[in-house]
Point group: C2
Chain length 131, copies 2
């Protein structure tokens, strides 16, 4: 069962980006926008294995994401949780589905040969919200 | 002197919100969108003294903010830094200026009697960007 209140699920089905907060190597907070998916129980997003955020999450799986309502600037949902698992994305199915959601394209246009993509699967444990 | 690259300063002058990453009481990351200002050297935003983020920053002044380009979904700027100082906002001048920037209103419409507002002044120390 998810901990996300019903009245904020529209934000999870929007095309807003999620800004993820992770802990860096010196214990410092880091923030980055990512394209995200929602499977009804988990937040999912894509990273390459070369990214700082990937290494942050291997070291410390705690994460928070904040997502604003694209229609109403004052309304947002924050999800805090932990990385439940990290899946491989060898055929780029997931990142391509994100390009479809956010760009309306069949394939992610910025894939580079050699990029190894993973899917970060986040289990929500706590939420905050406004509006 | 600022550490923000010239070619990303347009994002600091946009009406995007900044998503701030702070460290919570158990060492966990937290993320929240805020309205922000830019004075040419510092990022400024408003909090009430009752907010979790305020207490987080008193405990640990490390912060990161990510801001997306409102015109181009793939482009963003992340600023990492520390809270240089926290100013009082007794006459609500700063929060009213934010309501003017983001809502086009003269006064912040959600002020509650008893809310004590402060201005968080962040010194950028490092940036990451994309696009």
């Amino acid at each position: 069962m998810t901990t996300v209140p019903e009245q904020y699920k529209d934000i999870l089905n929007s095309k807003s980006v999620a800004h993820i907060a992770t802990i860096g190597p010196k214990g410092e907070p880091q923030s980055t926008p990512v394209w995200f998916g929602w499977d009804g129980e988990h937040i999912l997003f894509s990273l390459t294995k070369g990214r700082q955020k990937y290494h942050n999450l291997l070291r410390d799986p705690q994460i928070a994401l904040s997502i604003t309502d694209p229609q109403e600037i004052h309304r947002y949902l924050e999800i805090r949780g932990t990385v439940e698992r990290i899946d491989e994305d060898p055929n780029l199915d997931f990142i391509n589905s994100m390009a479809n959601k956010y760009l309306g394209l069949e394939k992610y246009p910025w894939h580079q040969p050699g990029d190894e993509r993973v899917i970060i699967v986040v289990k929500p444990e706590h939420t905050t919200h406004q509006g």
